[in-house]
Assembly symmetry: C2
Homo-oligomer: 204 residues x 2
């Protein structure tokens, strides 16, 4: 089943799949290697622990989304364009890696304390960049200031957490459409006025 060249990938794929379906603690190393079509010896030749398998999932997502956000911030767009692009991107990425997201939000506490700190730190970096965008928008007078920034931002990140719980790729809705809709709801909520733009957005 696994590609001839690619024990690592086969193990990773199987691990994400099983972790998402049954949870990290309920998935044994034996189940993973069976699903990947390899043996424990092969797996431990490439990965030094089960924890590392889990941490790899976090690494991958955090790096990917961090790079995306940095690229968006570095453009010459307006603050509003940047924030919208950032929202759309992170939702679309979360949909693309839905299984990873499931594991991410459910099993972070299973990581060894040291790795948990690293994840926390890197998430904070993402969060801070995001907050900066909102702050800039507030200074420009386009976002409301009557609610703490932390609450405004939490209101958006919550969508990412919940996504793996309700979104189904088999559903009638396309990922990009959902991304546009959730982004619109968020921006409508934090805007000075509620200018609905979702109808034009979904066409571009």
């Amino acid at each position: 089943m696994a590609a001839t060249a690619g024990v690592k990938d086969a193990v990773r794929t199987a691990a994400v799949d099983l972790f998402a379906k049954n949870g990290f603690a309920n998935t044994s190393v034996q189940q993973i290697v069976d699903a990947a079509g390899v043996t424990k010896g092969a797996m431990y030749h490439y990965f030094c622990s089960k924890d590392e398998l889990l941490f790899g999932i976090y690494e991958h997502l955090l790096t990917l989304q961090g790079e995306h956000l940095a690229a968006i911030v570095a453009t010459g767009d307006t603050t509003e364009q940047k924030l919208r692009a950032a929202c759309i991107d992170v939702i679309e990425t979360s949909i693309e890696f839905l299984d990873e997201g499931t594991v991410f939000f459910r099993s972070a506490h299973m990581l060894p304390a040291e790795k948990q700190l690293e994840v926390k730190h890197r998430r904070r970096e993402y969060n801070d960049q995001f907050v900066s965008l909102v702050e800039a928008g507030q200074r420009e007078g386009v976002y409301r200031t009557d609610i703490p920034r932390a609450v405004l931002v939490a209101n958006f990140f919550s969508d990412l957490h919940y996504l793996p719980q309700w979104y189904s790729a088999d559903g009638p809705e396309d990922g990009s459409l959902i991304a546009a809709q959730l982004t619109d709801l968020f921006l409508a909520g934090i805007g000075i006025r509620n200018n609905s733009t979702v109808n034009t957005l979904t066409k571009e």
Copy 2:
């Protein structure tokens, strides 16, 4: 440490605490009974399994929030008043039982499949009642109809899921204030126009 009369309560409290802090799978029965100041024998005299301990947490929250929502729906208020009250209540309840919420959203997949189904079913009941309120508001022309109801509602429930991850009781913000703010953000997002009312709301 445990009240002289109350092995059950002592165990329950300790279990919620440890499950929230270390996760269900990482908490051994021995740890629970040690923290509760009782023995395993005593615990298994009252609870037939570790799973039942977990399920009890779900039962409690689901029953409580279900009753609250039913009471709100049964009032003679307008749809808008009902929806606002429902939002405020469920956020406040989630803050009051923050540890339970942590366990709820993180460890549901650890339940035996049969119990998982029951939880799913009862959550669907809550969800359906909530959707009905939004639907009524749409018919009355006060909520937008350009985004699927499922997305509108998911956008709110997501806040509940995320709450245990960022809200801290030690923080500067009061629970009721956060509830009003998050509710306002949600209602502003789904409203035909974005009428900010949070300033008056937090005074009432």
